[in-house]
């Protein structure tokens, strides 16, 4: 253009102006669209669609979601691959680790809670820092003793808080309460979950189906529990009849092994994520 001040009506100038205006409006629409899409992620959080069981040592949920960097290093160190990463339908939970105890529970076969050691951002910690305390009902009465290393000089897991609590949700399904025994593979031949059995191999977890049981009275939840004093079989009198029933104690961490091994299709015992101990 030779003209310094183009006159109105100059078609070239008008087209340029129009294009600049279009570009500006397009950019605003782009901005609104991307921000809108990223806000959609808040819905699952706000509605608490899924109460997920987090890996051991996880901070309280809002702190956990904000501090997790979604790298999956906890997934990589877990010897039984209990930890999985969430997908996009969990909103801001995309890439955030969780444990589905029924499919594969954390059996602490790593001994040292490797996921906590692997976490680069402090989303998983041995002890919650003073400025991010956990609820009092989440605190453990004493350092939990791992049965696998009960005889070692330091038998405890260095955990101070539980991540959930085992609950006898469907007592009517419990084989022990029905006085029944159990014979065979705890979850059938197609179940892929693994766990460590001290009498088989101190270090290597094996598939649950490779370790069949033969029990007079089913006490799978009690005999597979990795924590000392977390659960026991007790006699109780109900409706004038003495029956055996599993009872969860305050030492329970919510690791979920009992939920994984429970034989019925719908487990009698389950772990409730983020549930604390109450008398």
């Amino acid at each position: 253009m030779s003209d310094d001040k183009p006159k109105a009506g100059n078609p070239l100038v008008n087209r340029r102006k129009l294009e600049a205006r279009r570009k500006f409006l397009r950019s605003i629409v782009l901005g609104a669209a991307v921000m809108g899409i990223s806000s959609v992620g808040y819905i699952p959080v706000a509605r608490a669609w899924n109460v997920r069981m987090r890996p051991p040592g996880a901070l309280e949920e809002p702190d956990f979601l904000s501090s997790c960097i979604k790298c999956g290093q906890c997934v990589q160190v877990c010897p039984v691959q209990a930890i999985k990463l969430d997908d996009i339908e969990q909103g801001y939970g995309v890439g955030v680790p969780y444990i589905d105890s029924r499919t594969q529970a954390c059996d602490f076969s790593c001994d040292a809670v490797q996921c906590i050691l692997a976490c680069p951002t402090g989303a998983l910690v041995y002890h919650k820092p003073a400025f991010m305390p956990s609820r009092s009902e989440m605190r453990l009465p004493a350092p939990p003793i791992l049965l696998a290393k009960e005889k070692s000089p330091e038998p405890t897991l260095n955990l101070k808080e539980r991540s959930g609590l085992a609950v006898l949700l469907r007592p009517e399904k419990c084989l022990a309460r029905q006085g029944k025994g159990f014979k065979g593979m705890a979850r059938g031949p197609s179940f892929k979950g693994k766990m460590r059995f001290m009498e088989v191999d101190r270090w290597k977890p094996i598939p649950l189906r490779d370790h069949p049981f033969e029990l007079e009275l089913c006490d799978l939840c009690v005999r597979t529990c990795p924590i000392k004093g977390a659960i026991s079989m007790e006699s109780v009198v109900e409706n004038g009849v003495t029956i055996k029933t599993p009872v969860v104690h305050e030492a329970c961490l919510g690791c979920g092994v009992c939920e994984m091994v429970c034989p019925p299709d719908l487990p009698a015992i389950v772990v409730e994520a983020r549930k604390g101990w109450s008398v």
């Binding site: 904000s66 501090s67 979604k70 790298c71 290093q73 890439g95 680069p120 991010m132």
Partner: protein, 322 residues
């Protein structure tokens, strides 16, 4: 110092500034004068240069590096070789913490606490990319860049065939996004950007297996193919801008030599960020040698297409030492 400020201004979305007549060096003036008056010589040189052009020299090297790094993550996990554990957001290379700068920033803003490992990992990565050139991360490491640059080929082909047209946005919108994502992390307490970041999604999908989140990445690629060329990398991604800041003072950059340039503009056609190559337009370069600005991803595509060697990688200070 002025050079750096200008580079940041352009990166944030400002239009490149034309140099004032007074800013031209004597050497540059001579070259511009010669080019104007020796047209025949130049045509001959152009043809000769074309014949000696190396094809896809840097592209091959870059793709090998990009795929190797991403596959090393996958292999480390699948075969438990433990060389590079984690994903691109945070990882451990032989035990040393490495943490993506933008992810770290999001976590720090959302969580409002910084623990030692986070600090160490972020520091290591900061120094690494300061040495290697900031946005070098984008083109040499980011797995989404790899998908997007291949989608871009399809986009360019469709535009050439006049099936579609490209829609540009204002580049300043990326700076606005950077601020908004930072603000959203602080206010909501969640790492909002992480949930839509194709870099994180693709990286995790490669390591931990595909998921629904890849649907979002597919939508982005379709948007880039049919509507706007390289839209995510050019106009949205805050990771690119974060690394861009790191690259401002980086010694690794593409250098432009005015004397070799035939001003054909091939480099600007292949560039993801053509605003950094304004200096190659005839008569624009104020000095005989120029470093390309910090928004440059150091992908080397311009070097590959330049028939006359006017563009090359250079490491500042290295020549002096050697």
């Amino acid at each position: 110092m002025n050079k750096y400020l200008e580079s940041v201004r352009v990166m944030l979305g400002g239009d490149p500034r034309k140099a004032e007549p007074a800013e031209y060096t004597e050497e540059a003036k001579v070259i511009h004068f010669y080019k104007k008056n020796q047209k025949e010589d130049f045509e001959a040189l152009k043809l000769e240069a074309r014949e000696h052009q190396k094809k896809r020299y840097w592209l091959k090297r870059r793709w090998i590096v990009l795929l190797s790094i991403n596959l090393l993550f996958t292999v480390s996990f699948w075969f438990d070789v433990q060389i590079l554990e984690g994903a691109l957001t945070a990882s451990r290379l032989l035990g040393f913490h490495l943490i993506d700068l933008n992810s770290a920033l999001q976590v720090m803003l959302a969580h409002k606490h910084i623990i030692v490992n986070l600090f160490i990992g972020t520091g290591t990565v900061f120094v690494l990319w300061l040495l290697l050139g900031g946005r070098t991360f984008c083109s040499w490491v980011c797995p989404y860049h790899f998908l997007a640059e291949n989608a871009e080929r399809l986009h360019v082909y469709l535009v050439e065939k006049k099936k579609i047209s490209d829609h540009a946005f204002h580049r300043g919108v990326r700076s606005v996004f950077w601020v908004l994502f930072a603000a959203m992390a602080w206010v909501t307490g969640y790492t909002v950007f992480e949930s839509i970041s194709p870099t994180g999604i693709v990286s995790r999908a490669l390591i931990y297996g595909p998921g629904l989140a890849l649907g979002w990445v597919t939508l982005l690629l379709l948007f880039e193919i049919f509507y706007s060329r390289r839209a995510w990398c050019r106009y949205v991604c805050p990771i690119g801008l974060t690394y861009g800041f790191v690259g401002v003072f980086s010694p690794v950059h593409v250098t432009y030599k005015l004397a070799n340039c035939h001003h054909e503009g091939e480099c600007r056609k292949v560039c993801e960020v053509p605003h950094v190559l304004e200096c190659v337009i005839k008569g624009r370069a104020p000095s005989a040698k120029l470093d390309i600005g910090s928004d440059c991803t150091r992908c080397g595509m311009c070097i590959d297409v330049c028939p006359s060697g006017a563009l090359s990688f250079e490491i500042s200070g290295l020549r002096k030492i050697m």
